[in-house]
Symmetry: C2
Subunit: 417 residues, 2 copies
């Protein structure tokens, strides 16, 4: 690059403007001012040969796709059981588990060309030449699995219940709930889609697909990842859970959870963002809404991205530097009885909406040892978050995520006697 | 990987089965048979720091996104002009050109935080920390640009006209046409989406968005790329144009094309695939439909992937080894007066359709020096292609793609006197 500044060439703390003015009209190729931000160049390359084990190991008893550093793409799908036979549910979980183990290792789930072509392929084949691409598929069990149909009520996880109505809800029934969930994340979109497609195919006759979201460009950081940005242009995940101690304390269930020990709860929300309205807002207001500087990500109370926000510091927004109704103020663990949840969200777009506007948003996915923690935080956010003017919660789901199966077992095997 | 075979561990020519049987039910974690195929490990890593120049260079007078090795992700969008002022069109093309040059270099298109936050950001910011990711944005001009509105009829490219009705058409008017097209391809989906979003934002008041497709996992190979697979699981692009001589002969316009010299035509089709029906078909029939082996990609007349198909060889399918109504037979240049087109397609999914089935297909994009070449091939395919049972052409567009502008100029400047 010979002129201007690369997106990643500046920064380090707060500033950012390089060049001047707001995109001069550039009648005939004049250069537009550019603005850049960069920590150490993040993710300069993606290694598609990496794989994650599916079965529990000595070091890890939890399913992948929770603590796993967020991959670039995600396909999430929920299913309702069509069969009321407990054995059908059991067989489906067993087949899914065996298949996921293969897929995460970069293998097909059975032959593509059985019997020299005379049969139907077990695997649809479109990922044949692709690497494992860090695929993880996370299996969740919705509240319906523990209703009267399958005789499993006695095993119902202690905190599994439908999310109650929340102040921000604008839910579409066709994007809500599900008896089962699959979250497939990979660094190659074709690998993620192939996994969900072939697992959905296995479910035919046993369960029907309910709703799905295709996420990209992750919008929450894991440990050792630079903080990605949501489609509002802000860094998302700066204060996410990253320390092992916090995973133990806030995410995974302990031994007293019985068969769910090492498991967790998954809460998902499809959050539509009115990005065309957002884009017309002045930056100072956008920053007030989040409570952070847009480019650097520093809290408006000062410092750099990872400086702890000072919610008491005096300032111009309702008397504070960080408005008490800013998103980071309402969501902060300091203001929620110390509660933290692990966010693992992705951006999504569904193209255009019925008004011809860009249809996009956030597929919010979070893991926690009690879904009430999400409900508690979202109740506060839904009531007074300054973001509410721009977003709408249109989809929702809650699932129990069992621990990873031992090799030779399958997800949820402990349920069946 | 310790057991089975990786997806990329076998092959080299024709065979592929590893392990036996069709995904044994694997009651409790039994291993499923796996099938693998691999040329030299393709694309083990993706380098997101790569960038392509936008302006013409001594070595290249054509826009990017045509000959550029297909990136992993594509966002395509068309627009209708809302303004009938010729100067508005001119300003839009100029602003787009200046912005694309910035974006392809990995820069923002103006500051994200103008005037210390008191203004509206020129760039929405979500790509701030990301590399250029090999972004290319290709600008096309639809037939409507040369109608009576803008006084440009005298400059109309010789072969630019709406694609006539074709036997396979099942077009949705809301997915068809457009006065302008933008094809953004990148190896990071957020970089591609950011580009289209911010360019669409620039068009506000001048042009309105018409339709869009989000493509992934490219489904056509460029030179030096291993052949990717479409969502039917078959390699796509084995016989694509790769030689420079073929680009000159079949893709780019020559000096007699006046202001369009070095340009080309873009034909796009949104092709829905009934993948759930396809997945239930026996492999031998799938192979007959394409005329190729599914795993290895070799023509059914024998050899390996890149062996020239022998359409005369005797066999069991209507008397031939490759059925005369197989896709590769009908599409082959040998059977179409020697005509070739450059395909540059992507897979897409729109989630679920109204029947609760997986909604997916192919975003077919092709470049050629006369759209009649596409029409000729597709007329034959639409009439008798064995694929027709599984696919439906639901969207369509044709655009003139001007040559790359010189630095200091903009796409289509030659139109305005």
């Amino acid at each position: 690059m010979t002129d201007g500044v690369s997106r990643r060439a500046l920064l380090g703390g707060g500033l950012a403007a390089a060049g001047a003015g707001v995109g001069a009209l550039a009648g005939a190729g004049g250069t537009l001012a550019a603005q850049a931000a960069a920590a150490p160049p993040p993710d300069e390359s993606i290694d598609l040969s990496q794989s994650h084990p599916f079965y529990a190991t000595a070091a890890r008893q939890t399913q992948g796709g929770i603590e796993t550093p967020p991959q670039r793409y995600c396909v999430f799908m929920t299913f309702d059981m069509a069969s009321t036979l407990t054995t059908d549910l059991q067989v489906l979980l067993a087949r899914w588990s065996a298949a996921i183990a293969q897929l995460q290792a970069g293998k097909t789930i059975g032959t593509v060309e059985p019997s020299h072509g005379a049969g139907v392929g077990a695997d649809t084949g479109e990922a044949l030449d692709l690497g494992p691409a860090s695929l993880t598929v996370t299996v969740g069990l919705g509240p319906g699995i523990f209703d009267e149909r399958f005789g499993l009520a006695k095993h119902k996880p202690a905190h599994l219940a439908a999310i109650p109505a929340l102040p921000s809800d604008n839910l579409d029934a066709s994007l809500t709930g599900g008896d089962l969930s699959l979250q497939a994340c990979a660094d190659d979109p074709q690998v993620a889609y192939h996994a969900i497609r072939d697992l959905a195919r296995m479910a035919r006759g046993t369960a029907t697909v309910k709703w799905t979201v295709l996420g990209f460009g992750r919008a929450s950081a894991g440990a050792n990842q630079s903080t990605p940005r949501n489609l509002m242009g802000f860094k998302d995940g700066t204060r996410n859970i990253k320390e092992p101690a916090d995973f133990s304390k806030f995410v995974y269930l302990k031994d007293d959870a019985g068969w769910m020990a090492g498991g967790t709860y998954q809460v998902v929300r499809k959050i539509e963002i009115n990005i065309e309205i957002w884009d017309a807002d002045v930056i100072s207001d956008q920053q007030r809404v989040f409570g952070r500087d847009k480019v650097a990500g520093a809290p408006l109370s000062g410092g750099t991205e990872f400086t702890t926000p000072n919610f008491h510091k005096a300032g111009d927004f309702n008397g504070r530097a960080i408005d008490p109704t800013a998103h980071i103020a309402l969501a902060a663990h300091e203001n929620n009885d110390g509660v933290k949840i692990l966010r693992r969200s992705y951006n999504y777009t569904d193209g255009l909406n019925q008004y011809g506007q860009l249809d996009a948003g956030l597929f919010f996915a979070a893991y926690m040892n009690d879904p009430e923690h999400f409900t508690r935080i979202q109740t506060r956010l839904g009531a007074s978050d300054r973001l509410n003017e721009y977003i709408s919660h249109i989809g929702s789901g809650v699932f129990a995520v069992p621990p990873a199966p031992r090799s030779g077992s399958y997800v949820g095997e402990a349920l069946f006697g």
